[in-house]
């Protein structure tokens, strides 16, 4: 009695996992960081840095970021995002000794 139930539960779990993976948004596909050895910025031809938070490949030299879609890096210059540099905080006067 226990064995068929266990098998049934196992099959149900497998079906559920397949369903879950098929409905997971495709942008969540992981980016293989080994690709950093293969690709470069199409404009500067220099290496890129992976930003896992934004899921982008960043060219620090040019301050542009290329999106990664479904685990595939989109390295078309027109699709890159220009990174706005944060404004530097202004000094409130010189420090007095």
């Amino acid at each position: 009695m226990a064995a068929p139930m266990a098998r049934g539960a196992s099959r149900l779990s497998l079906v559920f996992r397949r369903l879950l993976h098929s409905t997971v948004p495709s942008r969540c596909q992981e980016f293989d960081t080994k690709m950093l050895e293969i690709v470069v910025c199409p404009l500067s031809k220099k290496p890129l840095r992976y930003d896992p938070e934004k899921n982008e490949l960043v060219s620090d030299e040019l301050s542009v970021a290329y999106p990664i879609v479904n685990g595939i890096p989109n390295l078309i210059p027109e699709d890159a995002r220009v990174i706005k540099k944060p404004e530097e905080p202004q000094d409130n006067g010189a420090k007095e000794q």
């Binding site: 293969i38 199409p42 989109n74 210059p77």
Partner: protein, 340 residues
């Protein structure tokens, strides 16, 4: 004197390519403002989109739209339009390339993976053949003697020499792994290819990158072979794509292009034209519900340079030993060149 002239010609070609790349980077960063200025002045350059004349800046987007529309039905349509002959062309293409294990291949405009899959299977077959051959070499019957008269049954010095030449004694050395990168400007085409690769169990062997053939996101001298099959006629600036191909290839690397070309036989040409313009767009409408995209595809074939003109463009980019072979009386052609 002749050697100096040859070197200076080669440098000249490379400089032309470098200048094109430099100008292209500057232009892309200023593209928005310059396009607006040109439009105001009415001086924007035009190019062909099939038989239509459009602004250069529009072509990439329109081609992108065509392939986004056809991506899901691309492979079925190829079979229907060519009655499966495209498979034979691609098989022949791989035979001509004849890659060895350890080759790093960049397949441009390779969206749905036809060339990449053939490359992976070719390499696997070669590796299997090599293993079989190296295994049999050392399986000597102890009672038999080799030609030198040795009766030990152990491999002779000659056997080792032969094996080293073949690369079998490289277990202790670092082997260069074969690699294939598929680059396409259209994400939809790559996603179709990725799904196909998954079904064929090849997903671990392939790298997928969205990129523009005119501005490749790969370092200089990083690939041993560059292939482009039925893609280069869709590129807005073919000469830029050829320069980029030259840049990313290692010295000695090979450029190989499979593309529709021109049929010189007038009888075959008229039958081909009839089929192209009367049948293919109808197939496009019936199978893919997209007459216009297939009308474009047929027209774009007619706008592409003929065999000799395209060979000259490849030479202009710096390649040498440029040759071409016609397939099916020139309906398609394979162009080859080397970076030497």
């Amino acid at each position: 004197m002749a050697a100096l002239r040859s070197v200076s010609l080669r440098v000249g070609r490379i400089c032309r390519c470098s200048n094109r790349i430099t100008v292209s980077r500057r232009n892309l960063s200023e593209q928005t403002s310059s396009d607006e200025t040109d439009k105001e002045e009415g001086t924007e350059r035009s190019t062909h989109f099939g038989f239509e004349s459009i602004n250069e800046s529009e072509k990439t987007g329109k081609v992108h739209e065509v392939f986004s529309n056809v991506a899901s039905k691309y492979d079925i349509m190829n079979d229907a339009m060519s009655l499966g002959v495209h498979r034979l062309w691609k098989d022949r293409f791989m035979q001509v390339l004849d890659p060895l294990p350890g080759t790093r291949l960049l397949d441009v405009a390779g969206g749905t993976g036809d060339i990449a899959f053939r490359f992976v299977n070719w390499i696997k077959q070669k590796e299997q053949q090599r293993r079989k051959t190296s295994g049999a070499e050392f399986r000597l019957n102890p009672l038999e003697t080799d030609e030198s008269g040795s009766d030990t049954g152990l491999p002779s010095a000659e056997d080792y020499l032969y094996s080293e030449q073949r690369g079998d004694l490289s277990d202790t050395e670092e082997k260069k792994d074969s690699k294939v990168i598929i680059c396409d400007i259209n994400q939809s085409m790559l996603e179709v290819g990725k799904e196909r690769a998954k079904k064929l169990g090849l997903e671990d062997d392939l790298v997928w990158v969205t990129g523009n053939a005119e501005e490749l996101p790969f370092p200089d001298n990083s690939v041993d072979a560059y292939t482009i099959a039925f893609g280069i006629r869709n590129v807005t600036h073919i000469e830029k794509a050829l320069c980029e191909a030259y840049r990313v290839l290692t010295p000695g690397g090979r450029f190989l292009c499979l593309e529709f070309s021109q049929v010189s036989n007038p009888l075959i040409s008229s039958v081909y034209d009839l089929y192209s313009f009367q049948v293919i767009p109808v197939l496009g409408e019936v199978i893919a519900s997209d007459w216009k995209s297939y009308q474009y595809l047929v027209e774009s074939i007619r706008r592409f340079p003929n065999q000799e003109d395209f060979a000259e463009m490849i030479r202009e980019a710096g390649f040498r030993m440029v040759t071409y072979d016609n397939l099916t009386s020139g309906v398609a052609a394979i162009h080859s060149g080397f970076k030497i």
